[in-house]
Amino acid sequence: MSVSPPPSETSQSPNSELAWGTRWLGVTGLLAPAGLWLLLLLVLPTLVIFQLSLVPNIRPGDVVIPSGIENYLRALEPGNLGVVLRSLKLAIGTTFLCLILGFPVAYWIALLAPQRWRNLLLLGFVLPLWTSSLLRTYAWIAILRPTGVLNSLLGIVGIPGLDLLNRPPAVLVGMSYSFLPYMVLILYSSLEKLDRQLLEASADLGATPLQTFWKITVPQALPGIAAGSLLVFITSLGDFIDPELLGGASSMTVARLIYNQFLGQTPNWGFGSALSMVLIFAVSVAIALLLKYGDSSATQR
């Protein structure tokens, strides 16, 4: 995800009124399609959700008249807050795993792998995204179940089997598998721009490889790390399929809870909307943090 700072107020050019007019037209022409898209499909629906979230106990067929914040109070009840916390933990865990798994790979592809392989290697990483995520999650069931592929392999080597399926670790495995490609792609594009001369200079000046890595490579890759982590964090916070299919009996997450409010047996669209607003708020905070820290280090360069 590339987050660019909002276009700053450009200083008024000394051009004539006419030129200013045509430029304004150009700007409108460029921004109008996306702006309209955002307005119709993001801003308006969010307002509708917000409005719904202020109606306690709304039933289909009722007239929507905002009347109170009971839904939000309910979202903050210990039981529901626990669900939000579990989702946060899973999302943070997934982000961490993706970073640990993705960084070496991206580093290798960007800096060490032969030039002509790079595109092919990247393509290989994106390839799994071409099949349905539901299908891939079912494949993980086949791998992780007690008599599944993983335990058969472990059995051959003589290691006792793991009981992973229907437990939180299985969700972490499934989600990090699903979102690793995003992390690798973003880290790759960030590491690709790495100034190699700095690495050489660092080595010349007597830094150990480890020092060079922490003091030269990581700081330069920081915007990529921040953007990649954020994208994985946000996507896994809203993931529905992996917790549902891999998480087992005690894996209620906020995305599933929201689903239940709309498609469950006792729909409560107002409460579901309040939960959605809480989720949107959490994600907005994360994005604000990225804009503040992630991008400032990018503009420093």
Partner: protein, 360 residues
């Protein structure tokens, strides 16, 4: 200056939208779609139609059928309420959902003169409680909720829900229950001697406590993914619908289905015509086609569901007629109930306990 003007204008426009939005009605279902006379959109369960059936119907009526599938009644209702169901002229809801759709005035009252073969329904389906005299719906299949298990692993065989609690040691993380609050709570309530449809908070709480006790045995609350896992032996027992059980038993004869002795739920899936149906004539044609004994018998046999149609039952091979997982003995059915709609506040109660149960 101009930019500011633009901003002011757009804010005004936005707040105008929000204001005019203040009085809108949630989920107001309206007819929006026109379809051709020779096109029938139906909304049904996965596994309820197949190419052969649709082809046979086309040969006879020259009406092309397009079937969309849903995986839960609530999903179907939500789609209609979101306004995306206007193309469907025929839907397959279950009993309690038929009631709810009638109450929400979503269904057309059926003209019985236009439907043949209504007199060949089994007596218990002639006037079901969810829709007296079948005024809005025609029952098309039925079944029960019970347990499917591996007979070589679990010996002696389970006979009741209590088996799950009595054999917790053997079942640790090797059992699944349906991903369905009403069915899971209903079964537990029934085991405790209460109604499947209890609205009594104390009884529901007792069932919740019982389920918390059982949690170490429950690998997942799951309505679909249990199939490959019970076939591979990773699960020993699963709560499921009889029609699904019958499918896996055909793949592995070591599996068996039991309708628990303390009672369970009986469900009926019915054909209904929504008020918004663009092609009512074609919908009647489909109902009449499905009512025909040969068609009902063939489709019931091929897709393994139980028919409520006497004449169709008579045409089934004996092996199917005596299949107790499809057609359980009356003695087992007597203690079972059908799911009833419950008041919203009781639904909320189930919902809260369910969230607590599934968040460990």
């Amino acid at each position: 200056m101009r930019r500011r003007q633009f901003l002011n204008l757009s804010t005004a426009a936005l707040s105008g939208l929000a204001l005019s939005g203040c009085g809108w009605t949630l989920a107001n279902v309206r007819s929006t779609v026109q379809t051709a006379d020779d096109l029938l959109y139906i909304y049904t369960w996965a596994g309820y139609t197949d190419r052969e059936l649709i082809e046979a119907f086309y040969q006879e009526t020259q009406i092309r059928v397009i079937a969309d599938v849903f995986s839960s009644n609530e999903e179907m209702l939500a789609k209609l309420q979101a306004g995306a169901g206007g193309a469907y002229s025929l839907i397959y809801p279950s009993d309690y959902m038929v009631r709810r759709m009638i109450d929400e005035q979503l269904l057309l009252e059926l003209d019985h003169d236009r439907i043949a073969g209504l007199d060949s329904l089994f007596p218990s389906f002639e006037s079901p409680s969810y829709d007296p005299d079948n005024r809005h719906s025609i029952p098309i299949s039925w079944g029960t909720t019970g347990l499917v298990f591996n007979t070589t692993v679990l010996n002696p065989s389970p006979e009741d829900w209590t088996y799950l609690w009595e054999n917790q040691q053997r079942l640790t993380r090797r059992a699944t229950l349906l991903n369905d609050p009403r069915e899971v709570f209903g079964a537990t309530l029934r085991m405790l001697g209460y109604s499947y449809n209890s609205t009594n908070p104390q009884e529901i709480r007792a069932a919740y406590n019982k389920l918390v006790e059982l949690r170490p045995s429950i690998a997942a609350f799951d309505s679909d993914a249990w199939r490959p896992q019970i076939l591979s032996g990773d699960l020993k027992i699963a709560m499921c619908f009889s029609s699904d059980a019958n499918e896996v038993i055909q793949e592995d004869p070591d599996l068996a289905y039991v309708l628990p002795s303390s009672g369970s739920s009986i469900w009926t899936d019915a054909l209904v015509i929504p008020r918004t149906a663009p092609n009512v004539d074609a919908a009647y044609a489909w109902i009449n086609f499905m009512q025909r004994p040969e068609v009902a018998a063939r489709i019931g046999e091929r897709l393994s569901f139980a028919t409520p149609n006497k004449a169709a039952f008579a045409k089934l091979p004996e092996s199917v007629q005596t299949n107790t997982s499809l057609f359980p003995p009356d003695s087992a059915l007597e203690k079972s109930e059908s799911l009833q709609p419950i008041p919203p506040d009781v639904g909320e109660l189930y919902n809260r306990y369910w969230t607590r149960l599934t968040s460990g």
